[in-house]
């Protein structure tokens, strides 16, 4: 690649870094975006908790009059 091409690339790359940094400075994350992130995190988390809950087998209720006094069915 000729050196002029490299200079042009370097100049554009530098401009890109400046533009992105300047944009981030002028446009920090908005309150609306933060709220979107928080509420979506909460929704994802609640969904995970539901899945966990359905996967964890609930302890079986004590059986009456069966077994030898432990009150629980043996795990199969």
């Amino acid at each position: 690649m000729p050196p002029e091409q490299t200079n042009a690339e370097a100049a554009l790359t530098k401009l890109g870094q400046r533009v992105r940094a300047g944009w981030a400075k002028q446009h920090p994350i908005s309150e609306r975006s933060l709220e979107t992130v928080r509420s979506t995190v909460r929704q994802v988390w609640e969904q995970e908790q539901k899945v966990k809950h359905t996967r964890t087998p609930a302890p079986k209720p004590p059986s009456k009059g069966k077994g030898k006094g432990q009150g629980f069915e043996p795990e199969v």
Partner: protein, 185 residues
């Protein structure tokens, strides 16, 4: 390891809602501004902010399954999600062609960046040259150069954006740069 990827990993490994929300906030304080720049250049202003919200929801929803190990992979993944959202849901509102940013707006951004990192000697001349390269490019070329150099998308991402293959994107960017460089020499 990249700080951003560390945060994503911590987010994925955290079970508590409060901690997870804090990690998410730290992650999005970094990535949201660049995603916003990307979306605002692709979608007309009245719709752009809604698109950004949809992009953020999609990223948060999938963040737990992100398996990359580098910041570059993370950015590529985020841009892919943003691109898909723009294409799937907002095609009607998307600009046919990216509108170039006016030089005074570009200088405004450069000056804002200089508040944190002052311009080095001679840098202003380089930036003027870069702006002239963009301004004097043909519209299609200007779009390729903007995406690759200003937004910082790599050849693969530009290829996805433009619906061409990797080599075609790489060669197009090289040709566009060569053409405009000769034009203003």
């Amino acid at each position: 390891m990249d700080e951003l990827v560390k945060l994503v990993r911590s987010y994925r490994l955290t079970n508590g809602l409060t901690d997870r929300a804090q990690f998410a906030e730290a992650i999005f304080r970094v990535i949201e501004p660049e995603l916003t720049l990307f979306v605002f250049k692709a979608v007309r202003p009245p719709f752009a902010d809604d698109v950004v919200q949809e992009v953020l929801k999609a990223i948060v929803t999938s963040l737990g399954s992100f398996s990359g190990a580098t910041g570059k992979e993370l950015w590529a993944w985020c841009y892919r999600i943003a691109r898909n959202k723009i294409n799937d849901q907002y095609r009607a509102q998307a600009n046919d062609r990216l509108q170039p940013m006016a030089p005074e707006d570009l200088w405004g951004l450069v000056d804002s960046s200089a508040e944190t990192a002052p311009l080095a000697t001679g840098e202003r001349l380089d930036l003027e040259y870069a702006m002239k390269l963009l301004a004097d490019s043909k519209p299609e070329c200007g779009e390729y150069l903007w995406k690759h150099y200003v937004l910082g998308l790599d050849y693969g991402e530009v290829a996805e954006e433009q619906n061409v293959n990797y080599d075609a994107a790489r060669m197009k960017i090289g040709r566009c740069l060569e053409e405009v460089r000769k034009l203003i020499a």
